[in-house]
């Protein structure tokens, strides 16, 4: 019985992240629109977009290979599984041990690898430009992410997110310099990984500034829907990750009753909303960077996270 309950909770979490992801995207768009004094599309617009895209036929480039057609599902599935590994309303779920933070980074890396390959598949120059810039940004953001994982893991003594969250909740972690550095670095990495301003602009189709949009330029119909859903899931994933590591308040334990789950879900909703609103405000208050200024921006995350890890190796109290 307990196993079935645990299984259900795990399933609920998987469906929850999937269901909430487009809403979060809609929220960020709404916040940005309001800040621009527009009314903006309704919050549920991303769901409608997805439904519309899924109902449409795929228009495939003549020389696209099987990789191009499989890629959207691989990207979606790896992002979804990665997102489901992150504690949202409850920690220590049934399958949470099947992958730690490094595995989550690896799953996202797989998704990006396939995405960049799919961009090169048709052999257009826009696909190339997108893939080229994406791997450059990733070559800075990925090591930064691993180093952030190191910082967190060294403090919590584990790379398991559930254990990290419980450690942050219960132990006297206090204010640590290394954690602060890791938080700043993680926010920068999240910006870069989710193709948000100032790294990339999710709303642009201006040729010279596109990164992610250039990679998915050839996609249409249900393929595009899967990719868009993956993008939404990734945004949710990063906000959940920041919430889970740095603000784990309200997180329920897997064995807790429905009441704790409700509290966890409520606090998760609050955190997601806060994250989405803050992202919207941040995006509105900063300009997009030139591509070759990005290494400085994302490189700063790499340096900050390295500094955090060095501090932890030198002194346990930092």
């Amino acid at each position: 019985m307990a196993v079935i309950a645990q299984f259900l909770v795990q399933g609920a979490q998987m469906l929850l992240v999937l269901a909430l992801a487009p809403l979060l995207t809609g929220l960020v768009r709404k916040v940005k629109a309001r800040l621009q004094r527009r009314i903006g599309p309704p919050l549920l617009q991303p769901y409608r977009d997805l439904r519309r895209l899924m109902a449409k036929d795929v228009v495939l480039a003549e020389n696209a290979s099987w990789l191009f057609r499989v890629a959207p599902y691989v990207i979606f599935a790896s992002t979804w599984v990665a997102a489901a590994l992150i504690p949202t309303f409850a920690a220590g779920l049934m399958f949470s041990w099947s992958g730690d933070l490094i595995v989550i980074a690896g799953l996202l890396g797989s998704a990006r690898f396939v995405q960049a390959l799919a961009a090169l598949d048709v052999g257009t120059s826009f696909g190339g430009i997108g893939a080229s810039r994406e791997v450059m940004i990733a070559s800075l953001a990925e090591p930064a992410m691993i180093l952030i994982v190191f910082s967190v893991a060294l403090i919590a003594g584990s790379t398991q997110l559930s254990v990290v969250a419980e450690h942050m909740l219960n132990a006297q972690v206090g204010l640590r310099v290394s954690l602060a550095l890791a938080l700043v670095a993680l926010v920068i990495v999240a910006m870069a990984e989710n193709a948000r301003i100032p790294v990339d602009n999710p709303a642009t189709h201006l040729e010279l500034t596109m990164v992610h949009e250039a990679m998915v330029l050839e996609y249409s119909g249900r393929h595009l829907a899967m990719i868009e859903l993956g993008v939404a899931l990734k945004l949710l994933l990063y906000i959940s990750m920041i919430a889970c590591i740095f603000f784990p308040m309200g997180l329920a334990d897997s064995g807790a009753g429905p009441l704790a789950f409700l509290i966890g879900a409520a606090s998760y909703a609050v955190k997601l909303t806060a994250g989405g609103v803050m992202l919207g405000i941040f995006e509105m208050s900063i300009a997009k960077m030139r591509v070759f200024r990005l290494p400085n921006f994302v490189g700063a995350a790499l340096m900050l996270s390295l500094l955090g890890v060095l501090l932890l190796f030198v002194s346990r109290g930092m």
Partner: protein
């Protein structure tokens, strides 16, 4: 068991003779490579048995009179014999098909089995004489193979550099053994184990072994021969050299440092860690700048050797501080990565060889669109690229994940050098992994995807059945070792027990076959479950979308923002894909410069783009040394044209000087 290995070696020598005799017969390659496959399977099984079996010794009255030769098969030899067996079986199977395209088979067939025999013998050597003899046999046979196409431009130089580096490596190993044997000349490994040299001698031996084994393995700054020799050799030999011979060099390092010297002080571990980290990053950065697939793979081998050396350095550091459990984790991670590298690098060289046969070039700027012409090769290459880029659920990820876990152990180390070096190495490894992913997106994306850039690529044909068998088999092995890392970790248990005095916990008894390096609350990884989840959810998504959404599909010209480019030459090339990375890292590492010479408006001359790159190791170290040697040779050349009186005078002076020195010494 020992006799089985000796029979393998004898069989290989016979195959070499057969290879020379049957070089021009059509059946020659079936006999030689087929024989090599059989022998390799036997050595694989023997290795597997040796890991769990007892230690076997054998002494034969051969070689130097009254000393004889000593052989020994222990768990470490067993593991590397297993690795050699897999790599050699795959390469030989691939070669049955690949060898059909060989223009001068008499330059390959006799030396290939000899090369394998040399590597076998290194692994069972139990005295310095056998070790050095087989070490040099391995070097010389592979040198002959590198020169198999000696008339092709650049190959002669590659052979020369390789020979110089091999001799240098042999010299360093010779001196190391000399120091270990001491004045009494105890050349058996057992005598060396008992000798317990002083700190100074041990340090010197360590440095010599690091140079000797490091230059064979491809440790920066001794890696310069790899990117020259690997492309020059036939592809199945490249696969062996890159995938297996570098591992034999690692074996030499482990045997001498971990076993015979019995560990190393912390500063030695710090040196290994520093060199390993630098090797990993510099290797992959070089790989990102290359457009020849085989050179790219050679540089990527340098990167992976760096990763293995980081693991070994961690093991040495933990062991020097008496932290056996940590040393076991790091050591297992290093050897696991070595095995993984054998699998995926051999696979990548097979695929590149198949492409080379099908199109006549391994230059990615002249390829493209091969995924449609060569579907199986492309799928295998994709598996290899995913594995080497350390993507879950492939095997490369499993071993890098273990290495990261070893970095994260962070025991209380008293030495500040290690305290700072270990996190920096973690950062370098993470950087190398990310750059490797970029490198292989580029390698696969440019060569196999997109539109073909040359007629040769347009007309490419799928490889033969033998090659496909080897590629598909190794692709499957990369996935399987990734899904069941516990099997390899448990296999490595006895090896790490004998070498560092501890082993990782049993993995196969964990529920759901989860990999748990230390304890479940610390970290765990279940590749099988994740693979099932990703596969199931991707499949489910496809089914649901097609059922409830649309399942229609139309083909049309590429959209490309409304500006479809008619010529395949307008696609991104390898150079343009890595240009941002070159700009970010290349300026720092290689002083890479792009200079644009734009004519003023109205001027009729063409614009020019000059791209320059400075290799700090080759241009900064090797070129000056080569120049100095050349200059010295020029100056000393006069010595060859003296009269006999002068030569007699030199002999006389030399004699006097030596006598005086001897008198002063006393």
């Amino acid at each position: 068991m020992m006799s089985l290995v000796l029979i393998c070696i004898i069989a290989l020598c016979l195959l070499a003779v057969l290879g020379a005799a049957l070089a021009h017969a059509p059946a020659g390659r079936f006999v030689v490579y087929g024989g090599c496959v059989l022998v390799s399977v036997v050595s694989f099984v023997t290795g597997l048995a040796a890991i769990s079996g007892p230690l076997v010794r054998m002494a034969l009255p051969l070689g130097i009179p009254w000393i004889g030769v000593h052989f020994r098969l222990d768990v470490l030899s067993g593991f590397f014999l297993l690795l050699l067996g897999i790599g050699a079986a795959g390469a030989s199977l691939f070669a049955i098909g690949y060898g059909a395209h060989e223009e001068e088979p008499q330059r390959v067939l006799p030396f290939y089995p000899l090369f394998l025999a040399g590597m076998h013998m290194v692994l069972i050597a139990d005295d310095a004489f056998v070790f050095l003899f087989s070490w040099e046999l391995m070097s010389l046979a592979s040198w002959a193979l590198v020169l198999a196409r000696h008339r092709k431009a650049g190959n002669a130089q590659a052979g020369f550099v390789y020979l110089v580096m091999a001799v240098f490596s042999g010299l360093a190993m010779l001196l190391a053994f000399g120091m270990l044997a001491g004045p009494d000349g105890g050349y058996a490994f057992d005598a060396m184990r008992m000798a317990h040299p002083g700190a100074g001698v041990a340090a010197l031996v360590f440095a010599l072994v690091l140079i000797g084994a490091g230059s064979k393995a491809g440790l920066v700054p001794l890696h310069v021969w790899l990117p020259l020799a690997h492309p020059a050799a036939p592809s199945h030999v490249s696969a062996l050299m890159s995938g297996v011979m570098t591992k034999i060099a690692l074996y030499g390092f482990i045997r001498l440092v971990f076993d015979i010297l019995g560990g190393a002080p912390w500063w030695a571990a710090a040196i290994v860690l520093a060199l390993g980290g630098i090797t990993a990053v510099l290797g992959v950065l070089h790989a990102l700048m290359e457009h020849d697939l085989k050179r790219l793979l050679a540089y990527s081998t340098v990167e992976n050797i760096g990763i293995v050396f980081v693991g070994l350095g961690l093991a040495l550091a933990f062991r020097a501080n008496g932290f056996a459990a940590g040393a076991a984790l790091a050591f297992t991670a290093a050897l696991f990565h070595a095995l993984n590298h054998t699998l995926f690098k051999s696979l990548l060289f097979f695929c590149t060889g198949a492409v080379l046969n099908a199109t006549g070039t391994s230059d990615m700027e002249r390829l493209g669109g091969l995924i449609k012409r060569m579907p199986v090769t492309s799928a295998a290459m994709l598996a290899g690229c995913a594995a080497i880029s350390a993507l879950p659920p492939m095997n490369g990820f499993a071993s890098e994940w273990l290495t990261f876990q070893a970095v994260l152990l962070r025991p209380e180390l008293p030495q500040w050098g290690l305290k700072l070096m270990i996190p920096v190495d973690g950062a370098l490894l993470a950087l190398a992994a990310a750059l490797a992913a970029a490198c292989f997106v580029r390698a696969f994306g440019i060569a196999f995807l997109g539109r073909s850039r040359s007629a040769a690529a347009t007309d490419a044909r799928e490889a033969d059945r033998w090659s496909i068998g080897a590629m598909a088999g190794f692709g499957a092995l990369c996935l399987l070792t990734g899904l069941f890392p516990g099997v390899v970790i448990d296999l490595l248990g006895p090896v790490s027990q004998t070498m560092v005095g501890a082993r990782m916990p049993h993995q196969m008894s964990d529920p759901w076959l989860t990999t748990v390096p230390v304890e479940a609350s610390r970290s765990s990884y279940n590749a099988l479950l994740l693979f099932a989840f990703v596969g199931a959810s991707g499949w489910l998504a496809a089914v649901i979308v097609k059922r409830f959404g649309s399942s229609g599909l139309r083909r049309s010209p590429a959209w490309d923002c409304g500006f479809p480019d008619p010529s395949p030459m307008t696609q991104y090339t390898g150079a343009s894909l890595s240009q941002p990375i070159k700009r970010v890292y290349g300026e720092l590492a290689f002083w890479a410069r792009d200079e644009v010479d734009m004519p003023a408006p109205g001027e009729m001359r063409a614009a020019r783009l000059t791209s320059s790159r400075y290799d700090p190791i080759w241009d900064g170290v090797y070129a000056p040394i080569g120049f100095l040697i050349g200059a010295a040779a020029n100056v000393l050349n006069v010595l060859q044209f003296l009269t006999i009186r002068r030569y007699l005078g030199f002999v006389f002076v030399a004699l006097i000087v030596l006598l005086v020195l001897l008198a002063l010494w006393q």
